[in-house]
């Protein structure tokens, strides 16, 4: 798994590629959690993510929870592959996440306050 961080118009885009599972969650956690600061705007680009395990879903939910208690912080996901989206739906996780088809749609939405 690889985490690539870029910014676009004040929005931080975190691209996750590869597998998000128990092996890689600690690394993802250490790279993403520091980005969660007051007024942060995050888009998680999942377009190149191939697999999200149970532990992977949990880190995504943890990000949501952390952002809820971070003043002005917002985030959403973009480009989630259908199979991963299905898993999120089956397990009841999808209701916690906002998702958009493309990164640009996500960036636009988050700038407008999703």
């Amino acid at each position: 798994m690889e985490v690539k961080i870029t910014t676009s118009d004040g929005v931080t885009i975190v691209e996750i590629s590869g597998n998000l599972d128990a092996n890689t969650v600690p690394q993802a956690e250490s790279e993403i959690m520091p980005l969660i600061v007051p007024k942060c705007l995050l888009v998680l680009d999942m377009g190149k993510c191939q697999y999200v395990s149970s532990a992977g879903l949990r880190i995504l939910l943890t990000i949501t929870k952390r952002l809820k208690t971070t003043e002005g912080g917002q985030w959403c996901m973009a480009g989630v592959p259908q199979e991963i989206m299905d898993v999120m739906e089956m397990t009841g996780f999808s209701r916690f996440f906002k998702t958009f088809d493309t990164v640009s749609a996500a960036v636009k939405a988050i700038q407008e306050g999703v």
Binding site: D21, A22, S54, R58, K65, V87, E89, M90, G92, F96
Partner: protein
């Protein structure tokens, strides 16, 4: 703060190890990244931990438990640096092999952990397994957390519950269900709006613990189809939800999917009761496979004859040794897990009488297991429902040891109601008991002890009960010898489906009659899923092996039998909106509120006068609205006239209180839309003193 015992103390073939903690049993993920393995065996002399990568044929490691790591009869060890999501584990146990002594140790067998929380191997329902797999049912390690969002069991009072008994797969597997993931927990989640429309507030799921649908699987000589263990009354593991029931089972996420279902049902006011099978396991008799218990500690887990054979009180080859202290604790740990970790609202215990037998199989007066469950703090608000009989001849309906906590499947309700329904003479006195919550059986326990049902998964569906005199189980491949012969059914004049308009009309009427009686009886009503739309199994009264259209609900029946669904829906609404129908108190048959009417009164063709001298299946009762909930609630008056005779009967109506008049809520003799009305839209009748009740018909009036 870093623990000083966080470091390994020794190494084995590249694996860092440390002595583990004996409790809790099972595999527990530790904060320091290690996994604590702990397994009980009294008679094993040695134990090895066998580790596989997910789905791999051969293990990648076999680690013996060092003797210093054993505490008492528990083998325990922490293994560090395991990729827990990709690991499957089992045990190999060494010990005596002496069948007369009850010991079945075989150190070549890889055994599943009895406390496994996730079990792999049957991840997708019906996928033909690799029969040569050296470890077919594999324990996995789970990170045990879930975001319940303040959910907890609903604790709906028993008297307000309407149970809907369903099979997870059968509910949505039919293509007509229209759900995205048929046959799964997710499928039920998609059908929650339907359950709400119907109006039930509790689903009782046939076993959802990991079982092997391929157990005793065979090809039907009649249909050529593969027969499987469809019902699932045969546990592989007690702690794990069935992977094949989860759309996400192939990803190993069945726990999350099932919890999401429970949470969403709760959000919609619907409780979840699990059908639990603690009477036997899937290991069968002396010829059965080693899965877990037999190889871990046969003598502890099973009831054995003095010669070391398996007692068979379950009819399934073996009997779990429920009142052995170790097994008792396992059952308690298991139920606590389902109640606390899964927020389950209650349990229905299959062949529960076995839970009251001692280690030699003799029935006990105060079975410690049943007492423990009745008083356990974690289970304190869970509904406990017994199937109060077993396959060894114990029949305890009315006398199941209850400590005021246990309810029962009331088999007598089912039998008496069926006889009455088909018009048997001499059935009225029994019906008077059943309609009142069976005070003859539950005088000291309240009417909540009685789960009232006419049909359940085991037996005819309601449509088949009015369409067949005899069972038709040929498709099961046992020459129609399986299944009960004692059905008390009546085919209304023709065996099986017919084009005859009159017969079909009578069948629908009989179904409505059954639904009406069920929903005006005191006690907890239970509806078999599909009955509300006239589901048929083509006369098969034992469809345990039929994973096909015999068992699955055909949702197009909602259109075909719209009038049945409409009737059920409105009867359920009627039940839910009239507190006079729902109370844990027994009727006293007197007026203790000074209303001028007893709480319940009985009527024949003459008001206030029951003449049962000729034995006709004809009876009416009146509920006084001022006695609702023991006089603590106020309701309408409810009058129910039941004429199961094949002739019409004219009924003199009891006079309602001065300001009230009789309105028709239901009359099963009428065709839709006049068979039943919306609650609150009941129609005032012109003749307030007399009502003609058609043949085999029920009339429900309310005084308002």
């Amino acid at each position: 703060m870093i623990r000083i015992d966080a470091n390994p103390t020794r190494e084995y073939n590249g694996f860092d190890l440390r002595a583990g903690k004996p409790l809790p049993f099972g595999a527990t993920l530790l904060a320091d990244g290690g996994v604590n393995f702990s397994v009980y065996s009294r008679f094993a002399t040695a134990c090895e931990l066998v580790l596989f990568k997910k789905h791999e044929a051969q293990p990648f490691a076999i680690i013996p438990f060092p003797d210093e790591f054993r505490i008492g009869n528990v083998f325990t060890m922490v293994v560090f640096d395991l990729d827990f999501e990709d690991t499957e584990y089992g045990y190999r146990m060494d010990g005596p092999f002496n069948l007369e002594e009850g010991h079945w140790f075989d150190r070549t067998k890889i055994l599943m952990d009895p406390y496994a929380k996730v079990i792999g191997g049957r991840d997708v329902w019906g996928k033909i397994p690799d029969w040569d797999n050296i470890y077919p049912h594999r324990a996995r390690i789970f990170f045990d957390d879930f975001d319940w969002e303040d959910d907890r069991p609903l604790e709906i009072p028993l008297e307000d519950i309407i149970v809907y008994e369903m099979h997870v797969r059968g509910f949505t597997q039919h293509t007509s269900s229209g759900v995205k993931h048929p046959g799964t927990f997710m499928g039920i989640r998609e059908k929650i709006p339907y359950l709400k429309e119907l109006g039930v507030n509790c689903v009782e799921l046939l076993p959802i613990h990991e079982f092997d649908e391929f157990e005793n699987s065979r090809i039907s000589p009649i249909t050529g189809e593969r027969l499987v263990n469809y019902w699932g009354y045969s546990n592989v593991g007690f702690f794990a939800p069935k992977a094949g029931y989860a759309a996400s089972g192939k990803f190993g996420m069945q726990i999350d999917e099932f919890k999401a279902l429970v949470r969403d049902l709760h959000k919609n006011g619907i409780e979840v009761i699990l059908d639990v099978v603690f009477n036997h396991t899937a290991e069968g008799n002396e010829n059965g496979p080693y899965i877990s218990y037999r190889g871990i500690d046969n003598k502890t887990y099973y009831m054995l004859t003095p010669d070391g054979y398996y007692y068979n009180f379950s009819g399934c080859g073996n009997t779990l040794n429920c009142n052995n202290p170790i097994v008792r604790n396992m059952i308690l740990d298991c139920l606590r897990c389902w109640a606390a970790d899964y927020h389950i609202d209650g349990f229905r215990f299959d062949l529960a009488s076995i839970l009251g037998r001692d280690q030699n199989g003799a029935p006990m007066n105060s079975p410690p297991l049943l007492e423990t469950l009745a008083f356990d703090p974690v289970l304190g608000k869970c509904k406990l429902i017994a199937e109060a009989w077993d396959a060894g001849g114990l029949y305890q309906v009315g006398v199941f040891p209850s400590w005021g906590r246990w309810a029962e499947w009331n088999g007598k309700y089912r039998d008496d109601l069926r006889k009455f329904l088909k018009g048997d003479y001499g059935t009225v006195n029994a019906m008077i008991q059943r309609l009142q919550g069976s005070p003859d059986l539950y005088q000291w326990r309240g009417t909540n002890a009685s789960v009232n049902f006419i049909t359940a998964h085991d037996g005819f569906t309601l449509m088949d009960m009015v369409s067949y005199n005899e069972k038709h189980n040929e498709a099961n491949g046992e020459g129609n010898s399986d299944g009960s012969d004692d059905n008390e059914s009546w085919n209304c004049g023709w065996e099986g489906p017919t084009e005859d308009v009159e017969i079909n009309r009578l069948r629908k009427k009989q179904i409505k009659n059954a639904a009406a009686i069920l929903l005006v009886s005191r006690g907890m009503p239970m509806i078999l899923a599909g009955d509300e739309m006239g589901k048929t199994q083509l006369g098969n009264n034992n469809a345990y092996c039929q994973d096909n259209e015999i068992s699955w609900i055909d949702w197009t029946l909602l259109d075909t039998n719209a009038e049945i669904f409409n009737f059920y829906k409105k009867m359920i609404a009627f039940h839910n909106s009239h507190p006079v129908l729902r109370s844990n108190r027994h009727f006293q048959n007197i007026d203790y509120m000074g209303s001028g009417y007893p709480d319940i009164s009985w009527h024949g063709n003459k008001a206030w006068n029951v003449d049962d001298s000729n034995g006709e299946p004809v009876i009416a009762f009146l509920l006084c609205g001022l006695h609702a909930r023991g006089g603590t609630s106020k309701d309408d008056y409810v009058y129910v006239a039941m004429n199961m005779h094949w002739e019409p009967h004219s009924w003199e109506l009891p006079k309602p209180p001065e300001s009230l008049s009789w309105h028709v809520f239901a009359n099963t003799d009428k065709l839709p839309p006049e068979d039943i009305w919306e609650v609150g839209q009941e129609v005032m009748i012109e003749n307030q003193s007399e009502f003609i009740v058609g043949p085999r018909s029920i009339v429900i009036l309310i005084g308002k």
